[in-house]
Amino acid sequence: MIDATVLERHGVTPDEYHRIVGFLGREPNITELGIFSVMWSEHCSYKSSRVHLRTLPTEGPQVVQGPGENAGAVDIGNGLAAVFKIESHNHPSFIEPYQGAATGVGGIIRDIFTMGARPIGLLNSLRFGALDAPGTKRLLEGVVAGIAGYGNSIGIPTVGGEVAFDPCYAGNPLVNVFCIGIAKTSDIIKGVASGVGNPVYYVGAKTGRDGIHGATMASAEFDERSAEKRPAVQVGDPFMEKLLLEACLEVMQTDALIGIQDMGAAGLTCSTTEMGSRGGAGVEIDVSHVPQRETGMTPYEIMLSESQERMLLVVKKGCEAEVERIFEKWDLHAVRIGEVTADGMLRVKERGAVVAEIPNRALTDEAPVYRRPTERPASLETAQTLDLEALPIASAPDVATTNRVLLLILGSPSIASKRWIYRQYDHMVQTNTVVLPGMGAGVLRVKGTDAALAMSVDCNSRYCYLDPRLGAMHALAEAARNVACAGARPLGATNCLNFGNPEKPAIMWQFAQAVEGLGSACRALSIPITGGNVSLYNETDGKAIFPTPVVGVVGLLPHADRALGRRFVGPDDAIVLLGEGHGELGGSEYLATVHGIVKGTPPSLDLDKERALQTLIVGLADSRLVRSAHDCSDGGLAVALAECCFDARVGADVQIDGVRVSSRDTINDAGALFGESASRIVVSARASDVPAVLARATAAGVPARVIGNTGGGRLRIAIGGRTAVDLQVEEAERPWASAIADRFTQRVA
């Protein structure tokens, strides 16, 4: 019955099958094979990534919960913890952008409230092909509408994110969603099953045939009861999730609950086995008690269904009525489907007859782990070779041309304002949003305290392509720097590692390098990783995406009212540059947008300097010595300065030093204006505070210099005394403000 074709369809290798037989001491039946296949899938078992992920630093005095639970958590004082995680929904969003993105939001929200935390914020990190390429606009529009449709409805503000466009994502967009919640540290709930005889409850949407993955799909061949066609697309139901969220949080206020977990990937299978294995217990369920949306579902289908908006609970014996009553209040029917057992087995019955019986450990701890071969791609050498002298530009700089180049970069969709996007997200519900999207890191006050949390997701995948190790370090550093620019001290990070096919040594090399880089940056900045997600096989027609390790960092501001935004506050403030530029153009937005090339090596990154810089800016914010702060990254100093002027319509008059990276002055100017040297922040300060700012910087060992003043209606940048850029702020703002919106104009008369 189980032959090579069946194994292949389940993505189970002959070796793995051998191990399965070993664990069971017999051949599995089809339901058991299905259960093994999903639990041992890359998505659930992390079999290719686990050896690398183990090297990430996960500890620190602030860590309340590290990796391994549904989400990580850090202590934020006042007896509270911030619970957060990021997850990908790339493939589903490509198939059906609206529902794929919506269900991605739904899934990550469940991970957070499962921990006993009330979700208070969402971020999203999106990657698409070139915006003008066919299909991109439809994808972007659908994904954004899906995120909005789910998040707005359930009432969790989307307070930030990032969006980038590059042809490498044309066949494989990325949709990563981050969620953060707040729990009392003492009330954090885990996904464990324990206490023999305690009832196991199912609550939420009914189980349908949706989401049973193609690769693990049962076919008529091995089960006559199953229908031939099943939709891969799941439809999100934010209303159901809102009810689940409120009801679960209410149940968590009682002492009736032992453990709880959402049914995400691998549905009922994953939640029963993981909860059992965490609690060192077994779980026995009868699938005939599982609420079903369709008729004639097999145990195989019920166990593997990935229907959305479902939760599994282990309840204290004797508290059943209390739990059922709370769910009834919310019009949800909690159904008892089984109980906790002592024998460490996952036992599945159908109307009393055992249809699957597997030791939990075999599905979780004993799942295969691979150290896949790695090999540095030969093509990297060429990519890293950047010949600035060969760039086809004039050698003598003139202001008109440089103005045009700046406008071009400001209007590049990756740099341009994302207002058209975040305006579709409710970013104010829950009345906590101190710093709105578009102003830098999202900042949410913590009600009942003076504090606020800042959060940012970042990754420059061009850097990661050119040097995955350094690129990943930049991702962590940039996310942390954005958080620090808001005035918050980074406390912890989560990550979503989006890569190609790990069975290719070149991809696996990228992966290993990126994890190494991420780990070393986390250690240097004392930011532990508390959780994350890995998304592999992001390839179309054998062509992989750029390695994209998206990092989300969460930080704490003791005083919410000291939060900073990017925008200049008014005229006559001094503009101070913290950090130094070296004209590094490798992998820059300038090269990509103006010259259409992704080449060179990413900017260097000195993590000690980065750490000093971040500590400095957090201190300056706390002492109210600066009025705005903006990280200088994509597009370099010129773009950062322009963005400080935008929305405020406050101009800037700036003088900077030149750099020498080429024999031609145009290129030197480009390096000074658009070079992306790391560890730089543009701040503005009252003139009277400048001495204090500079003194603090000196004490911290951070280079700092007054580079100009705010005021007037123009953005003027001189290099070594010679005017390089001179534009009306309004003129500069136009392409930036409208680049994305104009491509979607849809105004009805």
Binding site: V233, V235, F239
Partner: protein, 79 residues
């Protein structure tokens, strides 16, 4: 000529909106309504005067723009 296009979720796709409406109807006492599925309905005013051409045009428009073939199916009528 007027064409009517009916777009519905494919039968295998879960329709949470329809289900929620059905449940609301139950709580209002309409126990006789077993299930509800919600779809979209379009009226197109076409310049075409021939039935077959109108049908073909409406079907093309439905296929390309009005329905999402991944999860929806459609039906066209011309009057």
């Amino acid at each position: 000529m007027r064409a009517r296009v009916y777009v519905t979720l494919k039968p295998s796709v879960f329709d949470p909106q329809g289900r929620t409406i059905a449940e609301a109807l139950h709580s209002l006492g309409y126990a006789n309504v077993d299930d509800v599925r919600q779809g979209k309905y379009f009226e197109l005013d076409l310049q075409t005067t021939e039935v077959d051409a109108a049908k073909a045009l409406a079907a093309e428009v439905a296929d390309k723009v009005l329905a999402n073939p991944v999860i929806e199916s459609y039906r066209v009528e011309v009057e």
